[in-house]
Structures are given as C-alpha cells and as structure tokens.
C-alpha cells in the first residue's frame, strides 16, 4: 500500500527513537527554559510554542513503546496511545513554529538536543500525511525536477552566461577531476544570481581548479526539511554520483544553511556510506584561501557590519569562526550582536518554515527577535551567508521599516577583492 498512513508514521517514529532520544526524554524536568530559547515563544508569549511541548507525540511513543512503565500504563489504560489526531494537532507546532534552529538545544539545562528530536518527529509526521502542503510541493519538485523551486539546468546556464558576461571569466561546467565542485541553491540562482559571479571571481583569483556539475548543482534538500530520509537520501545520492563521476576531490556547499546540513552532516548517514570526497562550506573554503594568502583583499569596508549566523551553518553546522575571521579581514567595523554565534537567534524562516505559506504571519512575528538584536547594535549593513536567511531578513526589516541592507558574506568579500582588474574585462 502506498500513500501516507498513521501506521507508517508510527512505525517510523519507533525506528527513529534511539539512545539519545531516550536519555533526553528521561532527563526532562519540565523546567520550561526551552521556551525562552525559542523565538516563536518569546515573540508570541504563547506557551504552546515551548519546544519540549512540540515533541509530545515523540515522547508518547518513546514512553509507551520503550519504557517498561509506559508500556504498563498503556496496557492498563492509564495513558492514551498516540493517535492520528494527535499528529494532526501537532502539525503546525512541528513545522510552522520550529525552524530546527537548535537554540533550545543550547539552553536546556539537562542537555536535551530538542532540534535533534524535532528532526526525528518530522519523519513520522511526514509519512503519516501531516506535512505542510508547501513543503510537500517543494519536495516533489526537488525529486522530479531536481530543484524545489523548479530551477532546471538551462536556467542555471543562463545565469552562468550572465555571470561570465559580467566577470569576463569562463565558468567551468562538468570539468572532470576538478579539485572542487560547486553546489548552488535554487534561492541563489533565482534571487541572488550575483553570488555565482562573485564566487567565480574569487576562485579565479585563488586559481582554484573548480567546476559546476550539470547533473547535480542543487544543494538544497527538501527531504531533510520535510523529514523523509528516504527522499533526502535520494537527493544526496544525486550529488554524490555527480561528484564521484567527475572525480572531484571536494564538494563546496553554497551559502545555504540546510543544504550544508544535508550534504555535510546528514548525507553520508542518509546514503549509508562515507563519501569519496570532502564537503566544505564556501565560507570554510574562503577562510582557508585567505589564510593561505590566495585571497588578496585591497581595502576594508568601513561600514558598521554585523553578522547573522545561519543556524544550520553555525550552531548546527560548526562554521562559526570562519565567517568572523573573514569579516575581520574585510571589515574595519565588525560588531557582534548580543546572543551571537552559537547562541544567535534564528531569522525565523529556516527548517522549511519559509516554504510553508501557512506560517507567513508567524514567521514575520518571530522576526521581531532578530529586529531587537539588530536594534541593539544598529549596524549599517547586515551580513549573512544563507539565501533563505537573507530573504527573511530583508522581508522582516522591510516589514518593520528598518533600513539595513542585507548582504552575502561571499559577495562582501568580492567587493574588496584586489587585483581583479587584471583578470577582468576579457569577455568570453
């Protein structure tokens, strides 16, 4: 039988529960501190947005399936079994009001990794038919078209041509044995195509042997956002196949938060084997190039700049120092917001929330947290490294009438790249 069903969802939740989940639920003391770490709670004051409360369905399965006393309670009819209605009731909590930002995981005094568990709970929600339509659509497009936004290779080719015209460089496509294979997110291709040219300029200066694959350029992975590992694995496999067919040594994850999570951290676990190549985030690579002296910068940005850590790149991904080192290299006036780096507040649009139209109003409300953070430092410009964050930041700032331009870190670096003149100006 195909199609979603509660039984499949319940079975999946049983599969998902592991020792950490059991340790986490065993340790929760209902102190409520996770609420204060969640921007959906802080900006609405609605207790239902308390992170641990969002996990109630998973906790029920753990308790009733994997603890002696829970099983006894269920057998005696003291506690009610999880129902399809429960999952239905929890759908908006699990998808609309959680960006998987993992800030609660940093605050929980007993050490519960709540985001780790929400990710698992989504596996059960999705396969029982309780995922938001926006994410379902994106996932279907990702599998059938190759991009959640429907971006096909010809579109990328057009953007590549545009970038080539702009930079005067030739952008290598499907170059075998390249050292680096660049992935892109549809968001970049669609909304911030200048990113492609920016990267090309930097790579040209650093004399990097790189390529873009026509087979797999899409870095995003709707599978991990909606919570279907089978689909996520299929999407990762496309990249792995392309990279291994070309024989590249490294795959570069672009400025997109969850893409990095998908390809760098979840990928090998999804496909069940380590890669034959390394995965490096664009910021990691840039910092490495800068350290090696292959990135020559001419001047410093004098504006007061601050940096918004995309959750999946920073707190959940481990790329925290690199953007700071890079910013300090290009900005004379880099300031940190309060609650920064590992404790940064999410923009409010990650984890599939931005793909979920139902959550629009809540998402904009949640942005007030970011706004307050920005108000505290009053920067001239806001730098980030995730196209999704960037759109949310722009939209949020516009909504709250704040004039702060939002720029990508990679593009900021390109602005200060030295010696481009010698390589520019030769149209291909």
């Amino acid at each position: 039988m195909n199609g979603p069903s509660f039984e499949r969802g319940y079975n999946t939740l049983k599969e998902q529960i592991d020792a950490p989940v059991a340790a986490f639920f065993s340790s929760c003391v209902h102190c409520g501190m996770c609420a204060e770490a969640c921007l959906f709670y802080t900006e609405t004051g609605d207790p239902k947005y308390t992170p641990i409360h969002k996990l109630e369905p998973l906790r029920k399965v753990w308790k009733q399936e994997y603890t002696f006393w829970g099983k006894l309670g269920k057998a005696l009819g003291i506690s009610k079994a999880l129902s399809d209605e429960d999952l239905s009731d929890w759908e908006t909590l699990v998808y609309d009001s959680c960006t998987l930002c993992g800030r609660c995981s940093m605050v929980c005094p007993v050490g519960n990794d709540l985001a780790y568990m929400i990710r698992k709970l989504r596996e059960g929600m999705a396969i029982s038919g309780h995922a938001p339509p926006g994410l379902i659509g994106a996932t279907k497009r990702a599998v059938t078209i190759g991009s959640p936004m429907g971006v096909k290779f010809p579109a990328l080719q057009a953007q590549i041509r545009h970038a080539e015209a702009e930079t005067g460089l030739t952008l290598p496509v499907d170059k075998a044995e390249a050292d680096y294979m660049l992935l892109l997110s549809s968001m970049e291709v669609m909304n911030f195509p200048e990113f492609i040219g920016a990267v090309a300029k930097i790579f040209a200066q650093a004399e990097l042997n790189w390529t873009i694959s026509s087979e797999a350029f899409e870095a995003t992975n709707s599978g991990i956002q909606i919570g279907v590992s089978d689909i996520a694995a299929e999407l990762v496999q496309r990249i792995v196949d392309a990279a291994e067919n070309l024989g590249v040594k490294n795959v570069i994850s672009p400025e997109c938060g969850h893409a990095y999570m998908a390809i760098r951290w979840e990928g090998p676990n999804l496909i069940g084997r380590p890669y034959n190549f390394k995965v490096i985030h664009i910021l990691e690579l840039l910092e490495q190039l800068h350290k090696e002296g292959r990135l020559k910068l001419k001047d410093k940005d004098v504006r007061r700049l601050t940096y918004h850590d995309p959750c999946q790149i920073g707190r959940r991904g481990g790329v925290l120092e690199q953007p700071r080192n890079l910013l300090n290299a290009v900005a004379a006036n880099f300031v940190e917001m309060p609650d920064t780096a590992g404790m940064n507040w999410c923009c409010g649009a990650g984890g599939g929330v931005s793909a979920n139209e139902r959550a629009d109003e809540l998402r904009i409300r949640a942005f007030k947290r970011k706004k307050a953070q920005l108000d505290a430092v009053q920067p001239d410009a806001l730098v980030s490294a995730c196209a999704n964050c960037r759109i949310q930041l722009e939209e949020g700032l516009e909504e709250y009438h704040t004039d702060i331009p939002v720029v990508s870190l990679t593009e900021t670096i390109v602005e200060h790249l030295d010696g481009l003149g010698s390589k520019e100006g030769h149209p291909s």
């Binding site: 926006g134 994410l135 659509g137 994106a138 497009r141 959640p148 936004m149 429907g150 971006v151 010809p154 579109a155 057009a158 953007q159 041509r161 545009h162 015209a165 702009e166 930079t167 005067g168 549809s186 968001m187 669609m190 909304n191 195509p193 200048e194 995003t220 709707s222 956002q225 940005d301 504006r303 649009a349 599939g352 931005s354 793909a355 139209e357 001239d380 410009a381 196209a387 999704n388 759109i391 722009e394 939209e395 516009e398 909504e399 009438h401 004039d403 331009p405 720029v407 593009e411 900021t412 602005e415 003149g421 520019e424 100006g425 030769h426 149209p427």
Partner: protein, 150 residues
Amino acid sequence: MSQISNDLEFRRRLDRLDRTQQRTLAASFIDHVLSLSNDERVARAVKVAADVNASNDELNGALHSVTAAAMDSHARCDADCKWTDHAGYFVARATMAALSPEGQASGNPAWQAAMSSRMARTCISIDSTDDGGEEEQAEQYRILNNYLNS
C-alpha cells in the same frame, strides 16, 4: 571619447560619475527593462530616481516603496517559480540599488542597477533559447555612451 565595449571599461566610467549621475543613469538602464515589471511602485520609484532634483525625502520614500515591491516579488524559498514572472523582482532590485543612499550600498548603484536589469532580461529568456542578457549589455553601453557624449 572612446566607445565603451566591455564591462571593465563600463564600470570604470560609471565609477567616475558622481552619485546623482549614477542614480539617474541607473534609472535609464532600468527604464529599458521597466516593461518587465508590472508593479506601479517600481515605475514611480524609477521616475524619482531619474529626477536630478529629487529631494532626499522623495528618494527615501521611493526606496521604501520599491523595497516593498522587491519583497513582494522575490521567489520564496522552496516555492515553485516561473522565470517569466520573476523578471519584475530584478527590476525592483535594480531600482533598489539605484536609490540606495550613499554609505549604505556596497558598490556602485549604477553598476548594480545595470547588472540587475540584465538579470531581469535574462529571466524572460531563460525558458527560451535566445539570450537577452547580451542585448541588454549592449543597450547599456549605448546608454552610457550617449550620456557621456551628450
């Protein structure tokens, strides 16, 4: 004065202009792709940008309304997008760049407006085979040449 034939030269020339010149020139670039946007706010903002005597208040007001227009037209993450509908977003982006106040923009507003305008043209042609980006480039060189020669 020699005719501009490549982007390096194009940008150098743009960089030599003052802020108001850059803005009005940007408006000219955008004007050429304005038909790709069906947002009234953008058209109005371009008019303000083109006005050499526009006051700071007028410029700020125009920037706000065009930013709102850009936000309304961007492709949302994971949403199904049509390139032909997406050109308006880049027109709005170009106008935002043209109107960005001094000290806030990271680059030359005219250059950025030019780039976004080309992007808008590219959007229209993405699902077809011909590439409008190069035509747009040539058109922009022509606009700048005319401006400099006038």
